[in-house]
């Protein structure tokens, strides 16, 4: 397919274009010309407690299509806060507010209704949280909520989603058992299957392996590497080795500020910022 937008440089100062682009049409980054921009965060501040606490300060950041971006930094640095801004979950927190912009496919995220946005921007949490229902119903829940009733179509979505997360062979003979009866690692993959059943563009992951054993962690990490072929992934992790292993880009946050955004290999080998160097070499935590 001829991509008319290839090499079209994005004007970062342009006003918001309210036209939503297809994935092929996404603009290319100025700084990383081979990357297409899925999300763009512009001069973004986020506040808790009626603006008494500034959690994110003047964040400017691009998230690239079909890449894994890791958010790292000490506890309380704002990385999970920013993650939750992408699907507007932070707005559920009382007395929180924001200013600045987050563009999703060149369109301000507040121009979407939350259901529409969250069907395209899925979230996987730290603790696996299958719904109290069967494996089949966990995966088909989203499409059903979107109004899909065709059983054959639902079967296909469940099958493909479970296959994509490498769970199908493990549960194909017991799709009717409760999702909660699976092991922790299987539950987390079920949650990822539930997420991709909605055919999202982006998967947000908030420390998805911190509650899992090393073998389950390795399976999720391998899965993330595979999933980026189809989806854009943002992962918050405290595990720097994990960020180094699975991400393409790394954003390092401290005290609500984005200290450094860089290609992961460069970030962990030759960080540009002294604070990044000190953090990854354990000179402070």
């Amino acid at each position: 397919m001829l991509n008319l937008f290839k090499n079209k440089k994005k004007d970062v100062n342009s006003d918001v274009n309210n036209e939503m682009l297809s994935n092929d049409e996404l603009p290319y980054s100025n700084e990383y010309p081979n990357e297409q921009v899925m999300f763009e965060v512009k001069n973004f501040n986020f506040y808790y407690d009626k603006k008494s606490k500034l959690a994110l300060k003047d964040i400017n950041l691009e998230i690239f299509k079909n890449k894994v971006t890791a958010f790292i930094g000490p506890s309380g640095c704002g990385k999970s806060t920013l993650l939750r801004c992408f699907d507007r979950m932070n707005e559920l927190i009382q007395d929180s507010s924001y200013d600045g912009q987050i563009l999703y496919k060149n369109k301000e995220i507040h121009s979407f209704n939350t259901i529409e946005l969250r069907s395209k921007v899925g979230m996987v949490f730290q603790q696996p949280n299958p719904f109290p229902m069967s494996i089949y119903n966990n995966v088909s829940y989203g499409p059903k909520c979107q109004g899909l009733k065709d059983k054959k179509e639902l079967d296909k979505i469940v099958l493909n989603s479970l296959k994509d997360v490498g769970l199908y062979d493990e549960v194909s003979d017991r799709l009717n058992i409760s999702g909660s009866s699976l092991s922790g690692g299987q539950q987390q993959r079920l949650c990822i299957a539930r997420c991709i059943a909605m055919s999202p563009d982006v998967i947000l992951m908030d420390e998805p392996t911190s509650a899992l054993d090393p073998i389950a962690t390795q399976k999720i990490e391998e899965l993330i590497k595979k999933l980026k072929e189809k989806y854009t992934i943002i992962i918050v992790t405290h595990n720097m080795q994990q960020a180094a292993r699975i991400s393409d880009y790394t954003a390092f946050f401290m005290l609500g500020e984005l200290v450094e955004f860089n290609k992961t290999e460069e970030f962990f080998a030759r960080p540009k910022n002294k604070k990044s160097e000190d953090y990854i070499t354990g000179k402070f935590s």
């Binding site: 720097m240 180094a244 290999e265 962990f268 080998a269 030759r270 160097e277 070499t281 354990g282």
Partner: protein
């Protein structure tokens, strides 16, 4: 992470190797020195094993990044060259002892020049390693071409010398070996300088490794 301890041991090893080479060439220039006091190759080997082990354990336990990773991987590699420099100090001493058995006694000014240049390269490469001085390391590397040319000149000169001065075959062979060892020492000094650059910048032979 105990990189500081490993770093100190590397500095000790580098200084010990440097002193060994200076002793070895002093022995060549002044055969009255006691060669038994010159070289303790076992000590150099022990340094190498110790530093390699500490680097591997730190990588295993700490999973280092950035400067720490460059230091540990760089130290792991540079000890090989330092150990070879230690070996060559022993080789120089052995060649000198062997030459001393002959009645012939010649001086080859080009070889003396090459030895002095080579010792300077060793000193500078070790300084560059210890201080993280990239400019100095680059000067060491640039000097290696001069050593290579001089080595070839001497190699071509030896048959003529043998003929002119009617030198013993074995005597000439020892000089050939000596010439080769000096050239190899300069090569290893260049390698040390290349690792010094890598440890400082992540570049190895103009290629960005990490």
């Amino acid at each position: 992470m105990d990189i500081a301890k490993t770093e100190l041991e590397l500095v000790e090893m580098a200084k010990f190797v440097k002193e060994s080479l200076h002793f070895a060439f002093s022995y060549y220039f002044d055969k009255n020195l006691n060669k038994e006091n010159i070289i303790d190759d076992a000590k150099v080997n022990a340094y190498e094993r110790q530093i390699e082990e500490e680097c591997l354990l730190s990588i295993l336990k700490e999973r280092p990044f950035a400067t720490d990773l460059r230091k540990l991987t760089g130290y792991f590699k540079v000890v090989e060259d330092l150990e070879r420099l230690g070996d060559h100090a022993e080789d120089i001493a052995w060649c000198t002892s062997s030459l001393a058995k002959f009645k012939e006694n010649i001086r080859i000014p080009k070889l003396d020049f090459m030895i002095n240049e080579c010792l300077k390269m060793v000193d500078d490469s070790i300084d560059a390693l210890i201080k993280g001085d990239v400019a100095l390391a680059n000067r060491v590397i640039a000097n290696d071409d001069l050593i290579d040319t001089t080595y070839l000149d001497i190699l071509n000169l030896l048959p003529e010398l043998k003929k002119d001065k009617n030198l013993d075959d074995e005597f000439v062979i020892f000089y050939t070996l000596l010439n080769k060892y000096v050239e190899r020492i300069a090569d290893h000094a260049s390698n040390v300088a290349e690792w010094a650059i890598y440890i400082k910048s992540g570049f190895y032979k103009d290629r960005n490794i990490i």
